[in-house]
């Protein structure tokens, strides 16, 4: 892996980044659900569904967001991972044929109190369908290395 471009200092509150978009097919929805979330509303089997018809597992939406995060910026960053997730919401179902657009907004940045070489960045991630509905929001902190002293940058 080459030298990353994004360090802690490269994030500032208010920054936004488009993380791309991806279409979700019924085959995608059913394949994921059969493996990880085999509720009838996600696998398409007969069953009562409050939301009516096939919908993607919220965990599937979260995984698609994670992939978009990796491809969109984490792979080119000095990321040290995330200790967890503060909150995920799934306000609207994702349907077959939906195109999901993903983005982040930086909510805050703060240096680590205990580790001078690390900083925390708090993100709000939003996943939106082509109808403008919010399919998922996620708030969490990720840890990033600080640029080494004497980088000259």
């Amino acid at each position: 892996m080459g030298t990353p471009h994004l360090y802690f200092e490269d994030f500032a509150a208010g920054d936004t980044r488009d993380l791309g978009s991806r279409e979700v097919t019924s085959d995608d929805i059913v394949a994921f659900a059969r493996q990880w979330d085999p509720q009838p509303t996600h696998t398409g089997e007969d069953g009562a569904s409050l939301t009516g018809g096939l919908s993607a597992s919220g965990w599937h939406t979260a995984c698609m967001l994670m992939r978009a995060m990796y491809d969109g910026f984490l792979s080119d960053s000095a990321s040290l991972g995330a200790p967890g997730i503060e909150e995920v919401r799934w306000p609207t179902p994702v349907r077959p044929g939906d195109t999901l657009s993903m983005r982040y907004t930086v909510m805050e940045t703060r240096a680590s109190a205990s580790r001078p070489d690390v900083g925390f960045v708090k993100f709000l991630y939003e996943v939106e369908t082509q109808r403008g509905e919010t399919a998922m929001t996620m708030k969490n902190y990720s840890m990033f290395a600080r640029r080494a002293a004497g980088d000259g940058l």
């Binding site: 965990w59 995330a82 967890g84």
Partner: protein, 159 residues
Amino acid sequence: MTFFEDYAEGDSHEIGTHVFEADEIVAFASAWDPHPFHVDADEARKSLFGGLCASGWHTACAWMRLNVAFQRRLLADARAAADTSPATGPSPGFTDLVWKQPVYAGERLTFRNTVCSKRRLASCPGWGLVTLRAEGFKDDGTLAFAFDGKMMVECREGA
């Protein structure tokens, strides 16, 4: 059982175990979270984790699969005991997820659900929201993973 009224704070159930085999770790992460330490054993050894470990989302998905099977068993018990069983609704989300320890290839997690709280939903008459603490423990008892999940559950008594 398992209508909104049947849930009590403190109810706790072991819902099952999952062994995170190397090939499954790599397959999951290749699709969803392809950090080198999740997809390549050599890269993982050189990384801060020191060995191939599962994506945190893989851990969460393993819980979800076990949870669906567990909820199905509860519903089957309910149907055997009564002529009605409750519907469940889509989860509105979750909070306070922590990935406390890496889960390495070959390790097993034992998952547990504990009811934290419940409340009727003013916005959705006849339904309540149950919050449960999901936890995944390593064989030595160390907590590796946890979060507060939210489930919509039908009320027996209606609106």
